[in-house]
Amino acid sequence: MKKYLLIASLLFNTPVSAEPLEWPSYGGDLGQSRYVNDASINTENVSHLKLKWMFQTGIVGSFENTPIVKDGVMYVTTPYNHLYALNARNGERLWRYKHKLGTTIYCCGPNSKGAAIAGNLVIMATLDAMLVAIDKDTGKLVWETTIADSEQGYSETGAPIIYQDKIIIGVAGAEYGIRGFISAYDLKTGALLWRWHTIPEPDQVQPDGTKGWTGIFTEKADGINDLHRDIAAEKAAIASGEFDNAWEHGGGSSWMPVTIDTATGHIYATIGNPAPDLDGSLRPGDNRWSASMVSLDSQTGKMIWGYQYLPHDVWDLDAASPPILTTAKDKQDKDIAVAVHAGKTGWVYVHDRKTGDLIRRSDPMVEHKNLFVKPTPGKGTEMLPGANGGVNWSPGAVDPRTHHVFYSNLHQPMHYEVRSVPWRKGRLWLGGAFKVIPGEKQSGNVSAVNLDSGKINWQYTTDQPMIGGTLATAGNLLFSGESNGYFFALDSRTGKKLWQFQAGAGVNAAPMAYRIDGKLHIAVAAGGNAQINAPRGGTVAVFTIEK
């Protein structure tokens, strides 16, 4: 290994350390870079990467977890909220905690993206919309608190984020007409500290001076693409008073982990679709802040800015993949702090982190067809991207040296139709349906996008749609996985495949890395996915180069 460290130091001009490298949070760091500044495993030696250990959870569902590692222990959450502590050296099970689930209502699989750790507590959010704090040494419950009423359709599938003395987390459930929010809880006690609702009340003043969720009746996405709205009809519907209370069930889940700028204490979060997903007739106006990125003050929950990608979204092309904090060129070619998001629209958005202004939007990573077209009444319309995007929840990775981001994409032609149905407590509320088109081929890709230009540098195409995520390293490697069970490494400069491993179940989770005993380890969950029917399993696989 010493030989590799020396070669890596020379070749990659990167500090290669024997010190432990931890992954204490869902995205690695609170900026969710998913970048490892370690070149000991690199394009030259990745062919020697071997499986070090595997762990079988025995829990089959939809395995979307990114493990976290701290103090030599790996923490893994599984479908149905089991939490495992494993020896990160060899995979030995240290303890297991199983949350006793109450009522659960969820749209897209019994998922759990991961845990968070601080002090002696490991925190997990649960399908029945609770937070639990577990003693990291014993696996015993320390406290638990209810986030929201799961019988209304509130659920937690994301990973909590710990910043200073707070646990910060959003909530899922827009498919059931919940009203989304992001909350902060006291780390020691689980007490609620603040809550910011993604869907504002009618009199609530927004950062731009408007009130409520109706917004400014924006006609074009990003000032470019016509959204084909009938603004006059929407205003008339609002004036009628019939939809005065629509905001109460307005959706706007924030179901992926939030991102934190530790220099400013500002939160960056993506907000999902309005409710009902496809039927805009019941919710006239922009439906703020659904389908948006927002910035909040982590101390108070006060909103700093919001950028709405799709005002009055009726295609479910909302914002899920978590923001990445990095630097990129602004319009004056100057490096500035940016927040990056890849949407279900298939574009990568680069925002000024301070103001939220959109600096640029990338070339589309996936084919667009009938983008933002309204469906023909009674017949529907074929559209691309389909129900899952573009980029779904899959977190991207950034290489801060090259200002490139890497995202997993889906290509799923679908036919969508609208049918108006009333809201009912705890019941599915899409207001229509997405249908697959028999005979239409589906596929996926990993795209490398230059943040400074918005141009796609390369694409690695796959036979199946991709859900999972990516990991970038200083060794010029990009790790990701496919539904067919292959976990692979690409050259992050070219997209050329350099290594792969057949994990035996769909690799539909974002990989992570840690260093222990002087060796970099790469870990990934392989357990398939419910949304795209990737073969199920329950494996955590860990790789390293032993020599």
Binding site: V436, P438, G439, N533
Partner: protein
């Protein structure tokens, strides 16, 4: 299981329906639909159900029908060959033949809960199909999607096995919806 078989199934049903079952209307609300074909001599009936046939009930429907929209009735002691095709881009679906539920509708059901022998399919995903064959025993049943949360969201239809009829038929109870005839 994939696209080709779906196309074959649809073509088969089309041919059969235009030759043997005739799709004749008995009454305005009682009919032999294109998606049912049968052989009286062999006492066999083929029923094709498409999950998410359209957007009715958020896509949680069989051939556009859900809850008490229709009753499918077949003669007792016939062999029922039921094919489920899933076109839902968002969710898996299944069929389990259950008892009619009057109070608490289950959140989730597997094949173990089928009340007729082997009268269930596994959950299938978009572009997949599944078949089940079972002997029809007289009684009132539900065709129930066993996937978590689907049945309580109305993804079921009434299924009746009657000793006193000679042909399968469908009775529409709720009119005015766009459905597969």
């Amino acid at each position: 299981m994939k696209n080709n078989s779906i196309v074959r199934n649809i073509l088969f049903i089309f041919v059969v329906s235009t030759t043997s079952s005739c799709s004749s209307l008995i009454k305005p609300n009682v009919f032999e639909p294109s998606w049912i074909s049968y052989n009286k001599e062999k006492k066999q009936v083929n029923i094709e159900l498409v999950a998410a046939w359209n957007a009715n009930n958020n896509g949680y429907n069989f051939n556009g029908y859900f809850q008490d929209d229709i009753t499918i009735t077949v003669p007792a002691d016939w062999l029922v060959n039921m094919t489920l095709i899933n076109l839902d881009g968002n969710a898996p679906h299944s069929i389990v033949i259950t008892e009619p539920y009057t109070d608490d509708i289950p959140d989730e059901l597997t094949g173990e809960f089928a009340v007729l022998h082997r009268a269930y399919t596994d959950s299938i995903y978009a572009n997949e199909s599944a078949e089940m064959k079972f002997k029809a025993k007289a009684g009132d049943y539900w065709l129930f999607c066993g996937v978590k949360g689907h049945g309580i969201n109305g993804m079921w239809s009434m299924f009746k096995v009657d000793k006193n009829i000679s042909n399968p038929f469908v009775k529409i109870l709720q009119t005015g919806k766009q459905i597969r005839r």
